[in-house]
């Protein structure tokens, strides 16, 4: 456990006890700060020696105790200090009672903690002199009985800590060691008593506090390593975003205008992770958003990004959002939000770097962390549970959401010399400040996956819900806190639906033309691909249809489209892989070899007006009037209006021949409004392998397994599959597989293959070292799998030499169907067959013959 050796000098000086009792902690700058840190008084050497000696003794006693409560770090040192003061009280001086103040930071975190409560985590003694005095007192009148008392005290203090783990009010200071246990009971029953107690404590302590004392004596903590603090250590732990009847102001754990603590988000995410009900998740997140919107609207955008695991690019300012917040109506706000999301960028830091950072922050070796991942399956949890082997000088202050967000952004944007190390250092710096589950979500944020079962859809839904419940842009205190009150649940639902609709966003390649003339191109996963397609940008203007004077030109629009690689000579679509060979970033227009053709199929936004609520027919009409068809560059997606499923199947068949990835099916007029990315009956995506008889099935042999992560911890998460090459009598890898398994199947497979493990691969396995699985299997079983496509692969070895001298063939989108018990591994699909299947594909045939012209009807 990380213990602080030193305490912040100012914390006790600045907030005298009576202040603390009376009002909430004031975060404003402490007046005494300078002097505080400048004058480190020379201690009275002798009494200090004694102090150390006594504390050591106490520590020794404590470590002997078998039942030291994990997580109640600090309880010991707290106990010992308490004992000191109690000892003094008992030893005749009588009147001196002392209170130990909690860390000012901690209390700032919680608006509710208006009373001086002792956090187990950081305890400070108000000043030095009373302790010394008391110490000498103890020394003078230290009888065996006293000692016993101290022991007892210590013990009971620990019991206390354990017993009260869920209590909001943490161990309050009281005088009188003998009464300890009894008081415990009282405390649980009546808070009033203990509060009263405190007040008197505070008053008397004020009396004994010499004003001129400037520096607090900081006792080092004599405790051996213990677990991470549990939630009880934290005042903020009572933030419950999953509470029924959540009140956005009262139930929040921070105050208006204060920065949102990262803890609040972590807690919300934790609550979401713990539930499996989607509606509940949305509720929890919406509750959190409501609090943020009402109390600290500036933190809303960072919150949403953090939930989405995206980091906004630097130029998309917070000010912009803030302005929107106040000026725009709700729908406008939400719509702009979706715009905003498109500009988000991914933040990925390599897992090995994260492990290094965790290692450095905790003093553990990377090997041990790696071993932990095998057991726990998630680096976030490993980070959370990693015990620190390195003590700290001082516990860093609590993380604020905005700080975390800004730092993540910095990390994402860092470039240049030795950038990896700098990133690790930054991560490490934040990691040491993480407490409890914060570390888990922080690491996951860095990994780019939160893994809490919260899809983007739900996040946007939650945002919509919170906007409806607690509309943004109200004055404080807001009049409407819960808009669902007083209206029927049905009408509320419909209200919710309408705003959620606006929010949902699409995953297609989108071309945005802004009024300023700037263009952005976003991919399916919302990566900014603008720099990948300079050719589109330069040509875009020529695609806009020229208009008569009275018709408005296109000044801004969002175009939903698909970019495909296009062979200009043969006038046909090239396979998907060709497109992916384009340079990904900062492509130079003159160097482009792979040309793209844009298939536009929808227009979502035109000249400042959102079209998403208009029927598709109308949107398509607008698209066609405002843009023109230029073959080979910009084409309206061919469409077929049909109500008949057979027709659609036929159309798909055709489109497969035309090298299409698939079809988008939309309804035209009934409910044809644009529900972005919603998998509803209004929009369907048909892929060829979803149709019976289009995909191919193969019989393959699993030869290796990859250990599962997350949900699949403990079983294999993926397998390496091979086909049999009869000529060379070897197994050649053909693909990895991870889909199509039920949980039971995975368990069965795992158990089965555990019996057939091998130390290393057989000499007759042909594989690429980059694919080496965690465990190798003997060739014992045959699986039937289905795939969408076969493609040339640089890493898989199946049929190498058949279609390409070196490269093999791999399967795209393999899915597990069932085990073939009737076949032996040698009867599996052969490499030659795979080669044949590859050659039989329509795309390949087209490419090979070249003469066969394809009709455009094939597309969409």
């Amino acid at each position: 456990m990380r213990r602080s050796f030193f305490q912040k000098a100012e914390k006790t000086l600045l907030s005298p006890p009576e202040d603390r009792n009376r009002n909430e902690p004031d975060p404003s700058t402490p007046p005494l700060r300078k002097t505080a840190r400048k004058t480190i008084p020379k201690g009275n050497g002798e009494s200090q020696k004694k102090q150390i000696a006594i504390l050591k003794e106490l520590a020794a006693q404590a470590t002997e105790k078998p039942c030291q409560s994990p997580g109640s770090d600090g309880s010991l040192s707290e106990g010992s200090k308490e004992t000191l003061s109690n000892g003094a009280t008992k030893s005749g001086k009588g009147k001196r009672k002392r209170i130990i103040y909690s860390d000012s930071e901690e209390s700032n975190d919680t608006p509710h903690s208006k009373k001086p409560s002792v956090s187990d985590e950081t305890v400070t003694t108000p000043n030095e002199s009373p302790i010394k005095k008391e110490l000498s007192d103890i020394d003078a009148e230290d009888t065996p009985k006293e000692r016993e008392n101290l022991n007892d005290e210590n013990q009971s203090k620990q019991d206390d800590a354990r017993g009260q783990s869920c209590e909001k009010s943490k161990g309050k200071k009281k005088a009188g060691a003998g009464k300890r246990r009894q008081k415990n009971g009282q405390e649980r029953n009546s808070k009033g008593t203990s509060e009263e107690d405190e007040r008197s404590d505070a008053n008397s302590s004020k009396d004994t506090r010499p004003v001129e004392q400037k520096t607090s004596a900081i006792l080092p903590f004599f405790q051996k390593k213990s677990e991470k603090p549990e939630s009880k250590d934290d005042i903020t732990s009572d933030y419950q975003p999953d509470k029924a009847q959540y009140h956005p102001i009262e139930d929040a754990c921070w105050k208006r205008g204060e920065k949102v603590p990262y803890w609040a988000l972590a807690k919300a995410l934790q609550a979401i992770e713990a539930t499996s009900s989607r509606l509940k998740m949305i509720d929890i997140l919406a509750n959190y958003f409501r609090s943020v919107m009402v109390l600290t609207p500036e933190d809303l955008l960072p919150s949403v990004y953090m939930c989405l695991n995206k980091i906004a690019p630097a130029w998309e300012g917070r000010e912009y959002m803030h302005a929107l917040f106040h000026t725009c109506c709700l729908s406008h706000f939400l719509f702009h939000f979706t715009w905003h999301l498109h500009a988000a960028q991914e933040l990925g830091v390599g897992e090995s770097h994260l492990m290094k950072a965790i290692g450095r922050a905790t003093g553990r070796s990377v090997d041990k962390i790696k071993a932990d991942i095998g057991n726990k399956g998630d680096l976030g949890i490993v980070a959370e549970t990693s015990k620190s082997h390195q003590r700290m000088m001082f516990q860093p202050p609590r993380l604020m959401l905005r700080t975390v967000f800004e730092k993540l952004k910095e990390i994402a944007l860092m470039t240049g010399h030795a950038v990896v190390n700098k990133k690790i250092e930054k991560i490490q710096g934040l990691l040491v400040a993480c407490r409890q589950s914060e570390a888990r979500y922080f690491i996951r944020s860095l990994q780019g996956k939160l893994r809490i079962g919260l899809a983007e859809q739900s996040i946007l839904q939650a945002l919509a819900q919170s906007c409806v419940l607690t509309p943004p842009g109200q004055d404080y205190p807001p009049e409407i806190l819960d808009a669902s009150k007083g209206i029927s649940s049905d009408s509320f639902k419909s209200k919710l639906e309408s705003s959620a609709l606006l929010l949902k966003t699409t995953y297609c390649i989108m071309i945005h033309l802004l009024e300023s003339g700037d263009m952005h191109i976003y991919s399916r996963n919302q990566e900014d691909n603008t720099s990948k397609y300079p050719d589109i940008i330069s040509k875009f203007k020529s695609w806009i249809a020229e208009k008569e004077n009275h018709d408005p030109q296109v000044v801004s629009c969002i175009l939903d489209s698909e970019a495909v690689a296009w062979d200009r000579e043969k006038e046909m679509i090239l396979p998907f892989q060709v497109l992916s060979t384009r340079k990904r970033k900062d492509a130079n227009e003159s160097e482009i070899k792979v040309h793209v053709c844009i298939f536009a199929f929808d227009l979502l936004y035109l000249n400042g007006e959102s079209l998403v609520k208009k029927p598709f027919l109308e949107r398509r009409q607008l698209l066609r009037t405002h843009f023109k068809d230029i073959p080979g560059e910009f084409v309206f997606a061919k469409s077929m209006d049909s109500t008949n499923t057979e027709d659609i199947a036929e159309f798909l068949e055709e489109s497969v021949k035309g090298n299409c990835e698939g079809l988008m099916v939309k309804t035209l007029e009934t409910e044809a409004s644009y529900e972005i990315a919603k998998r509803s009956h209004k929009w369907l995506k048909l892929k060829k392998d979803y149709l019976e008889g289009v995909g191919d099935t193969l019989d393959v042999v699993p030869i290796g397994g990859y250990l599962g992560k997350g949900k699949r911890t403990g079983t294999y998460g993926g397998f390496l599959l091979a086909v049999y090459d009869t000529d060379n009598e070897e197994f050649q890898t053909v693909c990895k597989i991870g889909t199509g398994f039920s949980d039971e199947q995975l368990t069965t497979h795992t158990e089965f293959f555990k019996k057939h493990l091998m130390e290393g691969p057989k000499s007759y396995y042909r594989y690429d070292s980059s694919l080496a699985p965690d465990h190798w299997f003997e060739p014992v079983q045959v699986w039937e799998i289905k795939c969408a496509d076969l493609s040339i692969s640089p890493i898989h070895k199946a049929g190498a030499g058949i279609v390409d001298p070196e490269k093999g063939i791999s399967l795209r989108f393999p899915r597990f169907l069932h085990i073939r018990d009737d076949k032996t591994p040698e009867d599996a699909t052969t490499a030659a067959q795979v080669g044949e299947m590859y050659g039989n594909q329509e795309q390949v045939k087209n490419k090979a013959s070249g003469t066969q012209k394809l009709d455009d009807e094939g597309f969409y």
Binding site: R2, F5, F6, R37, G43, S216, G363, K368, S388, P396
Partner: protein, 260 residues
Amino acid sequence: MFEARLVQGALLKKILEAIKDLLTEASWDCAQGGIQLQAMDNSHVSLVSLTLRSDGFDKYRCDRNLTMGMNLASMTKIMKCCGNDEIITMKAQDEPDTVTFMFESKNGDKISEYEMKLMNLDQDHLGIPETDYACVIKMPSGEFARICRDLSQFGESMVIACSKNGIKFSTSGDIGTGNVKLAQTSSVDKEEEAVIIEMQEPVTLTFACKYLNNFAKATPLSPVVSLSLSPDVPLVVEYKIEDIGYVRYYLAPKIEDDDS
């Protein structure tokens, strides 16, 4: 108005070298009595405390207390522009946004001035208790640097054990173990070369080598280093800077590994 003139410009360069690897940024607190710097590394494991008394400066003026947050990497760049025999003058206004470093050559025929932007650092200032340590060891600083360098090749952490026979530094790692024992020097000819141990009780503590190596960067500042140890409190490594102050490093001990 703040102004501090240091004839031995090289001293400030050495000080910066001694702290820049540990800290990325730090605030310099200037007051009547001198300049202080206190900062923790980003993992909060070690703490640097630097004091430069005003009487150690050739000329020192500080009308009002001020805090200057500096990026130490930027400051290093500026200090690289300063010759070893040049005189450094630091200047700043009250409530400064920038600090000016002026470098004068010995004969006064070259003056260079560099202005650096300050940063707003929100740093915690800690009250460091005066503690009586169980063991205080004084030894040649070069020897200490050497030991840290040698032992850190073997493992990540180093055990420092002080008993009445002497002080033992030991480490173990994948390739093996290493340890260095130093005995108390019996006859003291030169105080700078002696190993002096003042011990109340034996102490054994484990520290991360990485930090000790960083501390050893202060070796040019002083021929003697003093290590103060007590069970379960941070190690103090102090380099006295002649006539002007000291730099102290505090390092939190490691918790003994029991899962290895």
